[in-house]
Symmetry: C2
Subunit: 351 residues, 2 copies
């Protein structure tokens, strides 16, 4: 058994792999592969509709929102968010909490003025900014709910007053309960808690459609896709299907509330060891620690070789920190069992 701590694409449930594998050979007993049928066939339209409905159900999304499965990753989502959320103020506010926020800000500058109202860049993004005020003369506030690279996570929503709220939730969507009604737009790449790489979910308040004063290219306009039930062009069939399977699995296992309890337990387990064990030090500020990605370093780097060897012997995979910060990172997405976190703790104690 491999303990898979990959930061994304990442572990998904074994039963999802099994079902996906079978569908590649014979989907729904059609005698055809999932990937050779028309995306407009009844069988695939059902998949798309179930996937969209599961997103709404699992996140308790109220009426008046539309769920889309698109292509391009959150990286193209940065641009789509900026185009579609633009408004009469011709200015947006962003909180910069690391690599992904920085990229989102860069894309937003293609469509208008950006006010970076708070940033944790001064300390290498090891905390979540607080004490900022959101100006009321902006079209929206954008933030990144969880920062995979640095291991930080917002524990409360920014107080925005009347400003529409937009979040890139790529790395913690479906990991904990959220108040979807607080958002005008949520988007997230699939390849953490939702499914395989290749699709990006958008949860859009219907009032957003048609609001932007900008000329938006067809494929970047969320309304294009909403009008066609997320089938304006050929969707990424396999990625949508496996996301649907994975959301089914989540529902069967008690939904977001139940997985949040497991995720809390996993996070507590590793952070307790990081704090208890003199050989390790956490990277992120304690109050901002991510429940998805625990980042930590060895106090004495000369132990690196031995620690890496012990991890390898214990079949622990993907614990290396992101190349931009180094150290270690335990990505503990929904499908990662507590026993895998306990395996890491055991190695940390054996060091």
């Amino acid at each position: 058994m491999v303990h898979n701590f990959s930061a994304g694409p990442c572990i998904l449930p074994q039963e999802v792999f099994k079902e996906a594998s079978e569908a590649i050979l014979n989907f729904n007993n059609l005698g055809l592969s999932l990937i050779e049928i028309s995306h407009r066939s009844a069988a695939f339209v059902d998949v798309m509709e179930e996937a969209r409905a599961l997103v709404k159900e699992l996140l308790n999304v109220p009426n008046g929102y539309t769920v889309l499965f698109l292509q391009g990753g959150a990286s193209l989502g940065f641009l789509k968010a900026a185009y579609n959320m633009a408004g009469t103020h011709k200015k947006s506010a962003y909180i910069n909490t690391g690599t992904w926020s920085t990229k989102a800000i860069k894309e937003a500058r293609f469509t208008g003025e950006v006010d970076v109202i708070a940033s944790s860049e001064d300390k290498g993004f090891n905390y979540i900014p607080k004490g900022y005020t959101v100006p009321q003369d902006v079209d929206y506030l954008h933030f990144t709910t969880n920062n995979t690279i640095y291991g930080t996570q917002f524990k409360a929503l920014p107080e925005v007053g009347n400003v529409p709220l937009v979040a890139d939730m790529s790395s913690d969507i479906f990991s904990k309960e959220i108040d979807a009604s607080a958002f005008d737009l949520i988007y997230a790449g699939a390849q953490k808690n939702m499914g395989p790489a290749g699709t990006t979910v958008f949860i859009v308040k219907d009032e957003v459609f048609g609001r932007s004063p900008l000329q938006i290219p067809t494929m970047l306009n969320l309304e294009t896709h909403a009008k066609k039930d997320s089938m304006f062009n050929t969707p990424p069939v396999f990625a949508v299907y496996v996301s649907m399977l994975n959301l089914r699995w989540l529902k069967k296992n008690g939904g977001v509330k139940a997985i949040e309890a497991v995720n809390n337990k996993k996070a507590e387990t590793i952070y307790n060891e990081i704090d208890r064990n003199d050989k390790f030090v956490g990277f992120a500020a304690k109050e901002d620690r991510s429940n998805m990605n625990a980042t930590f370093n060895l106090v004495d780097d000369s132990l690196k070789e031995r620690f890496d060897q012990l991890l390898k012997e214990a079949n622990i995979n993907g614990l290396k920190g992101h190349r931009s910060v180094g150290g270690y990172r335990a990505s503990m997405y929904n499908a990662l069992p507590l026993s895998s976190v306990e395996a890491v703790v055991e190695v940390m104690r054996a060091l």
Copy 2:
């Protein structure tokens, strides 16, 4: 056995389905699924590099070109083409041969002036325009090599003089030999002859990078992806992998030249029957008939019910014409065996 004439996503070789299915459970004997490993792992980087190399090898792409596997479909490719091919003339030329060309033209208008130099719209797009002149004061000429909906296909390249040539080859790439060196940019959605839905291949002359005077959003700039070996952001892992498997299959079976001979034979078989059989009439002008998509109608519509019933009894799937033109369409992509075409001919004779 189902005869799968789906227009795309479409039939792929059975051995590709088998290998893909296995990789979902255990990829490269890693004890991990293809879709749970890091896209930056050596195992997946190898897949991406092999896929890119196979495109070059199979299409005889000369040095000085870069192959990319991106997301968004040809539909987003329309915009990428326009952004990246823009130049000092601030004007582009397009040939309009149907639905996809029309969409490409629409997106190009976001970035500059478009001169539609030829169109077959006057006859419902049932032919390929000829006798036009390509103006020399444009940044590029764009055309759609094969038109799935109408069943027309360019049999020769437009004569462009010194104007850079751009083609959307979504529905006939890898089906016949091409002179890649004649193009500055080729792009194609995977879901016909290359692989499953979810990725789009771009073959870019290196001189194109940095040529555009436009400010191009990061993800739409082909140079962004070229600089990162098609891994700027998380690629659509599964779609790239299956495309690679399918290109391996094509190479093993003699490459594009060999499949072209089979494709010619399949097309000849069905068109001969359409012309011989008084009950049917072809939709496209004879000299412009597509070898990928044969479109035809019943002369007497009252036979429709019986013909559809006979097709069903023969396990023939996906022969219904596109909703915008009606009638019938036999999509005969690379993996469709001649025997499936013969099965259709048999039913046509039995009617």
